[in-house]
């Protein structure tokens, strides 16, 4: 095979390296162990409950019980939780990226007296564990009368997403040459125009990397939602899954179907965009 004849040659060498071949085989075995949980979930999701109890744990399903998915959808109240997840994610993610990009532009390109202090304040936020502050966040959201509402969860999500996004976008905007914005300023453009017309378009690769990251994080978030969204009608998918797990514990086929339906959207988004993901992130996070 062509792939194989080209492979296993280290940088600067044109001979196949036997050590590399041996390591590769060991590595493939390791990767198989890594995928096992996925296979296990898929297999189980397609087994009827009596098959789960009767057959060995890792045997493939014989008769495909697709009914598990429909049953889990209904019992787990997925139409509500998926809808809430979509509303929250689709508002939070673009809004957060937009305000973060504005702030990062201002910090990186507008000379102000407090640039450095504010940047340090934002960087500090990237390290702040919100899990520590669930009670005061609850108290704050409650003070605004926003418990069990979309704004009530979106605002804290924004607050804890902004620091990281500002940090990455600041790193990126700093690398954009000064001449680009200065020339536009001489022509009389305001910073609003420069941001919208020049900097927003050039940052699209970084923004799309952050978009994927933030989509997945928001879609999957659990602890904050647990505290703020106490009404089951406001639940998101992870809360629904948690409830499903405790209520229908003995129905493993349905449980695994529920896991797959919860995980699938984030997995699809990641697989679709994973190319941009690594390149976009590295331009900001681990720049050298």
């Amino acid at each position: 095979m062509k792939v194989f004849s080209q492979a296993f040659r280290p940088v600067g060498s044109n001979k196949v390296d036997p050590v590399l071949v041996a390591l590769w085989i060991a590595f493939i075995l390791f990767a198989i162990i890594w995928i096992t949980p996925f296979l296990f979930i898929v297999f189980t999701s397609l087994k009827s409950n009596s098959t789960v109890m009767g057959s060995s744990a890792f045997s493939p399903p014989t008769e495909l019980a697709f009914g598990n998915f429909a049953a889990a959808w209904a019992r787990g109240n997925f139409s509500t939780t998926a809808f809430n997840g979509i509303v929250i994610t689709f508002i939070k993610v673009p809004l957060g990226l937009f305000v973060s990009a504005m702030a990062a532009y201002a910090l990186a390109k507008v000379p102000m007296r407090i640039n450095k202090v504010l940047f340090a304040l934002f960087v500090f936020g990237t390290m702040l564990p919100f899990q520590v502050m669930l009670a005061p966040i609850f108290r704050q959201v409650n003070a605004f009368g926003l418990i069990n509402t979309y704004p009530g969860i979106i605002l804290p999500y924004l607050a804890f997403g902004i620091p990281y996004q500002v940090f990455i976008l600041y790193g990126f905007f700093s690398t954009v040459p000064k001449e680009l914005s200065e020339a536009a300023r001489i022509d009389g453009a305001s910073h609003f125009t420069i941001f919208r017309r020049i900097f927003l378009p050039v940052s699209l690769p970084v923004l799309s990397a952050l978009l994927i990251l933030d989509f997945v994080a928001t879609w999957n978030e659990f602890a904050m939602a647990l505290v703020i969204l106490q009404d089951p009608r406001m639940w998101t998918l992870p809360l629904g899954l948690m409830n499903f797990q405790s209520q229908f514990q003995s129905d493993y086929g349905q449980l695994n179907a529920a896991i797959i339906m919860t995980v699938l959207p984030a997995a699809i988004v990641y697989l679709m965009f994973q190319r941009y993901f690594v390149s976009g992130l590295t331009s900001g996070a681990v720049k050298e």
Binding site: A7, L23, V110, S190, A223
Partner: protein
């Protein structure tokens, strides 16, 4: 065209651009942090309008009357230490392998990254099910291999429950560090590697004198991120054991939540939070200083 529209001074334009992000961040992230410190010095049940100032009483209470706090602190520290070492070593190995010219690279990268994008609560559900003493994968495999002596109640036995949860955490977190390591490895200059090879450096020589030094900044970032991530361990523990059996998997972040939001002793919960916050700061402050120094040198 009329020129009579409102124009702001450049610095004012900057503040306008900054305002939305800054206001939300201050209101819902910075203020709660100050509030949790204030709360830790007061007694509040979540219902009464006024909190009473009690000084250090909450701290004294969690340290002397709370049967769970020290265990949770110990679990958090040992979990964090191991979580910095084990997944990152694996991630480093995987990244090194994936950085070689081997077939199936991109597919393998997806295999190792996929667990990262799964909700922690789903990971918890998956692993809880695999650990099931009767129908789970592990005991099933052990039975089919004839190793019935090894069969265990993975999450029900308080001696091993923490490590059972930890294995799930390792599975989930390797991919994240792997991506960062891969990014770091790809920035190692290939000309430098080739030059070293021409100078007669072997595999180990290139690794020791070219690759490793170039990766120091990446390693620092990975180290700090995984340290912070493991200090705030919550979802996976909550989803797998809820802190049990017999509080053997209880962690500080979850114990703070339980005290405040479930037991209604907000002051004590806040005190636990502040302890965790202080531990975090011990890591964060030197890291931020290192990072800013590095940024300045780069200019």
């Amino acid at each position: 065209m009329s020129k009579a529209r409102l124009t702001l001074r450049p610095s004012m334009q900057g503040y306008v651009l900054l305002a939305p992000a800054l206001i939300v961040y201050l209101l819902f992230a910075v203020y709660p942090m100050i509030d949790v410190i204030r709360m830790s010095f007061s007694s509040w049940n979540g219902l009464s309008p006024q909190a009473k100032f009690v000084g250090l009483a909450n701290y004294r209470a969690i340290m002397t009357q709370d049967p769970v706090f020290w265990g949770a602190l110990w679990n958090t520290l040992i979990w964090t230490t191991t979580a910095v070492i084990v997944p990152n070593l694996i991630a480093f190995g995987v990244a090194l392998a994936l950085n070689q010219n081997i077939p199936g690279r991109s597919g393998l990268r997806i295999v190792f990254y996929l667990p990262v994008i799964i909700a922690s609560i789903a990971v918890a559900t998956i692993w809880k099910w695999m650990y099931d003493p009767f129908f789970g994968l592990f005991n099933g495999l052990l039975t089919s291999w004839g190793l019935t002596g090894w069969i265990m109640d993975w999450l029900g036995d308080k001696k091993i429950a923490l490590w059972s949860v930890f294995v799930a955490h390792v599975w989930q977190s390797v991919g994240f560090s792997m991506v960062l390591f891969l990014a770091g490895l790809q920035s190692v200059s290939t000309t430098l590697i080739e030059a070293a090879r021409i100078d007669g450096a072997g595999r180990w020589g290139v690794f020791r004198y070219v690759t490793l030094p170039a990766l120091v900044p990446t390693m620092t970032v990975v180290f700090v991120l995984s340290l912070i991530n493991s200090l705030k361990a919550f979802d996976i523990v909550y989803g797998m054991t809820g802190g049990g059996p017999a509080q053997s998997t209880q962690m500080l972040a979850m114990w703070a939540y339980t005290q405040s939001m479930q037991l209604g002793v907000f002051g004590r919960g806040a005190a636990v939070s502040v302890v965790l916050l202080l531990i975090t700061l011990v890591v964060v402050i030197p890291y931020m200083r290192w990072m800013f120094k590095r940024e300045d040198m780069g200019r």
